[in-house]
């Protein structure tokens, strides 16, 4: 068991106040290593919130997030940052690449929090991934000079660069055309399989959802 969410509740606004809106309600989830899960649900159902909680970008109002047997809800900010860097990879709907950096630099960015000089081994790994997703020729280009699909592929490589155990993808194909979306979906699945990475994706895309091992629907704050 890689990830376990126990009785997670999360809402926005002041608890008890009229304006309080509950998003997740006593939610439970268990994900095994290497498993690929799609979370679907209507807009505003709390998909992104759930992803943020799994990714330790946000904290639940109650409940526990247990990753690889460890309760990460009790982590300090420093530990959480370290956790995200070492164990997780993120892919967003918009690629969120640094416009000031080249493709190559964007990919290497996650190595920086580790403090050490980027090793040749790390560089080789980056090159391997970039080659693999087919954007090696663009490695010196900046995001503004790349297509949307190329940018999103770069984002995928960036998510994989630290060899994470879990990739969290929030509508990874949402901003792409059909062709690019299909290609990226396949790439994600392929890479997860090859590297034995657990994949959790929030998506509206039935195509992507169909490629997953499991589809979970978020409804009324619970997964069904």
């Amino acid at each position: 068991m890689l990830l376990q969410l126990q009785n997670i509740s999360k809402g926005y606004g002041k608890i008890g106040a009229h304006s309080f809106r509950s998003v997740l309600n006593e939610l439970n989830l268990e994900i095994d290593k290497g498993e690929k899960i799609a979370i679907i649900g209507p807009s505003g159902s709390g998909k992104t919130t759930l992803l943020n909680l799994i990714g330790a970008l946000d904290l639940p109002d109650s409940g526990e997030v247990i990753f690889d047997g460890k309760n990460i809800t009790g982590y300090s900010k420093k530990e959480l940052a370290n956790f995200r860097n070492q164990h997780l990879g993120f892919i967003f709907q918009l690629h969120h690449l640094m416009p000031q950096l080249t493709l190559w630099e964007n990919v290497l960015l996650p190595f920086l929090p580790q403090g050490n000089k980027i090793s040749n081994q790390q560089k080789e790994w980056a090159e391997h991934l970039i080659q693999k997703v087919g954007i090696w020729e663009q490695r010196s280009q900046k995001p503004s000079e790349m297509s949307g699909g190329e940018c999103q592929r770069t984002a995928v490589v960036r998510a994989l660069i630290n060899k994470p155990e879990l990739i969290l993808a929030d509508e990874p194909t949402g901003a792409l055309d059909e062709e690019n979306a299909t290609s990226l979906s396949e790439l994600l699945i392929q890479l997860s399989d090859e590297e034995n990475i657990t994949l959790v994706t929030v998506t509206h895309s039935s195509e992507l959802a169909g490629m997953m091992d499991k589809k979970l629907i978020l409804k009324n704050g619970k997964l069904v």
Binding site: D58, A81, Q100, P113
Partner: protein, 1087 residues
Amino acid sequence: MTKLQYILKTFIHYIKANLLVALGVAISTMVLTGSLIIGDSVRYSLEQATFYRLGETTHLVSVVERYFRQEMATEIEADNSEINATPILLLEGVAVADGGQLRANKVQVVGVNSDFAEIAKSQLFAELQGNEIAISQNLAERLKIAEGDNLLVRIKKASLIPMNAPFVSAEETSVSMRATVKKVVLREEMGRFSLKNSQTAPYNIFVSIARLNELMEFEGKANQLLISTELNAVDVQKSVKNCLTPADAGLVLKKIEATNEFEISTERVFLEDKVSETLKMLPDADLILTYFVNGIEKLEDKVQSSTIPYSFVSSLEDRYLSENEIILNSWAADDLNAKVGDKIQLNYLEIGPLRKLIEKESEFILKEIIPMDSEWNDATRVPHLPGLSDAGHCREWDAGVPIDLDAIRDKDEEYWNDWQGTPKAFVSYSRALKMWSNRFGNNTAVRFPAASFNEEKYNQIFASEINPADLGMAIEPIREQGIHAAQNGTDFSGLFIGLSFFILVASIVLTSLLFRLNLETRSAQVGLLAALGFQQNHVRRFYLFEGLIISLVGGLIGLAISIFYTQFIFKILNSLWFDIVRTNVLEVNIIPVTLFTGLLISILVSLIAIFVSIRQYQKQRAADLQKQTDSVSAKGWGILKDTIMYLSIVVSIVIFVKQVFLSEQLNPSLFFLTGGLLLIGFLMVFRKILIRLQHRKQAIFGIGKLAQINLTRNKGRSLTVVILFALGTFLVVSTGSNKLDLIANSHEKTSGTGGFSFFAETTMPVLYNINNAEKRVEEGIYEDFTALQFRKVEGDDASCLNLNRIAQPALLGADNEALKGRFSFATQLKDIGDVEPWAFLNEKFEDGTIPAIADQTVIQWGLGMKVGDIVMYQNELGDTLRLKLIAGTAPSIFQGYIIISNQHFLENYPTSSGTNIFLVEGDSENEQQISDELQSVFRDYGWEMESTAKRLVEFYSVTNTYLSIFLALGALGLILGTIGLAVILARTILERRREIAVMQAIGFSTNSIFNTLLKEYFTLLFAGVLIGFITAVVATIPAFLSTNSDASFSTVAIVVGVILVNGIIWITGLSWFSLQKKTLVTGLRVD
């Protein structure tokens, strides 16, 4: 890639936005470092000026209207080998060239010898002979003369006798010399020699001291000793005292063979009281007071029967006759046909201030008639009075008082021929004192029987009892004082930092705002970095490091500009002052440490501003950043902000109420503080309003509500615009209202001119009252005017034109009664109650201090004091004169002086010669004629006259220049505000592109969207300007209430108008421009 590379790449990628942030840093660096450089440079320039004007001089031994032996210098050097002493004879004069076409008044004429050459390190001064002179460069420029040219120098006649003493001729007030310029001396060669603490370069003429003595009919006299030593003032004083001899007090010892007595008299006619008291300590001292009377009459039943005109009458010891008795010599008794027991009357003149003659008479009973061979019939009892005692005939008398030559009979001429001035009558010493005691002294001589007089004992007692100060000799560490005055002068760094404070704040606010906008642009990146596992402090460090690069770039740009900024300000000040202080005083002095300090402080302050921006931003949690939502402020901060808001307002109201209703005088500093606090309070109130509006529920949803929502959506930005405009308006309005219009009501008595038309100053003193009708006829003055004359003791210039810290400004003695109802007072001492300060000048405080008045500017800036403080002088008698400042006038022509009443002035400076300062009041239509006539009549006195309004403007031109600079800085603040507004406007519109597009898509017209934007930003503009305006008015209430601020209202109104129009144009323009773009298409395309 390394972290540093990442940061650098980020900095370069966002270079435009970063340079905009750097602009804010550059401005704050420029203002801050510029202020520091200005302070350094002013101090440096003043210190340099001290070295230029003093050369090697460390101490000064000086006397006023007295003289001592030149040899004293050699004797002091012999007494203490560590002292080098240089005697100079320093006088004032007028220099005329080009046949009278070119003239320089108030010229220093310096008599020098080879010793001065050593101090000046120029052999030239030792080589001056006869009528050869060396002149300062500014004088050469003024008179347009060069080496080898001739000029006429009219020098104030120095006299060993106080010029206003009784029976001293006032006819000869100047001596002329046609001189040849041997050398024009530069400032490095002591061309700027001056003993006054001022950066003003005097016009100097150097001549040999021997020639100057000759011209003054002196022998080996000096009036200043320039000391060069490592020792302190006490050691110098010790040596001066050791070398002081009776001759330095002007005492003359001679043996009177006829009576076998020794007599000690003085070159000054009357012995000073301290000297008399000392001489009385010698055995068998016989004090003598001899006076010149108009007539000796014999009275028969109180009716005058016969008169002897113009005679000397002397005193005898009280043991010879009682107070109502008189003794006549046989010549006088015969002439009057008087016999013992007859009533005899003496008619004499009491000589008051400005030679005001008061006729007096005293009655006596004739006790005795002494034969002409009596030992008392002694012409030597008469003091030496030039023009009188040495006249060949009675008709040649020049006694300094009117002589009716027709009254002089032949027999009087015969008596003069036979007996010279031999006294014809004798009264008791006590009675003589009652009649003729005067401010110059009570005795004309002291005699001792030859048998009991011991010269050695005399010298001993003189040495032990008489101190240099008793002879009006002041010993001062002049170099130390000069450097102290330079270092403690107007704190220009503080002044510029203080008045640039708001621009500093504005630029920091702008820096913070722009950086925050930068961050907001990259908000997704911040979240991403967090998602990638960067810790918060890592991210903060990235941005802080980027901020450091921005600050460094901005700081370096600002540093370069600050040098130009300083040069620009000095150029203004130097060109403004050049005509007044006759030299380019200010030199830019760049000290690397100052540059580094300025840079460091600016970077630190900017970094703090940037750090706060980042911190505030990071308060939004990583997840929130992803969703672009604001976080709610921490409750604790909210309470703190509320507390600051209430405190600021309450404290400012308390100070305001206390100042307006409970204080007797308005304190401008407290009002400024009130305005500043109110500004903070109001800005925080505005913040509070924004928060309230955000949570307010409004039933009707319309354009107004939309504008309100938008206004409160990003409170920080809205508040920043308001802050920038409020600060700019505050600065511009407060400086604008402080700018003085001194011409507007200059004809009024309560204005800074006192209602006088002209201010005049003479080099030679005018010894008489120029309002006196007879004197006017005598001098050929026919225009109708009145003049108020002031006595003057030289001191340092304490006006705004002098940047040094002054301890003793020139002192004026005034007819305070004539000043009643004139000028206005900015401050007044509580202790004197409601009495008009002028009326209080004749009073004396219980502790012996004397009331004095000065211009408030002099008190505050020149002296660094306040009303109620005490200024100390050494008076002519060597005592400490303590002046309590009882009031400070509003801006007036008295800048540079301290004023006391004539009564107190004459008590302390009894031998002061005449008047040097004049305020002239006449019919405004005849001003030109009055001016021409006075210029002509008093030309040889070195009469320099200017309109009072012009003088006032000249003084305050400096203040107004500062204010103009600060006004310009205020304008810069407004430009910053405008930049802030424009950036925020552009940024917000860009951000709201989608929202505007949607509004357009659902049917809002461009006009209604435009109106929404205008409502939103006009609210911010008007709020900012209103807050700045109200608080600035509160801060400058004293200036608004001042009599000199008539035109300031219009200035302020124009300034506020310009600010509003500027803001309106930018808002309208940018809003309209942004709506003209294809917002609908571009905005919706994203979606």
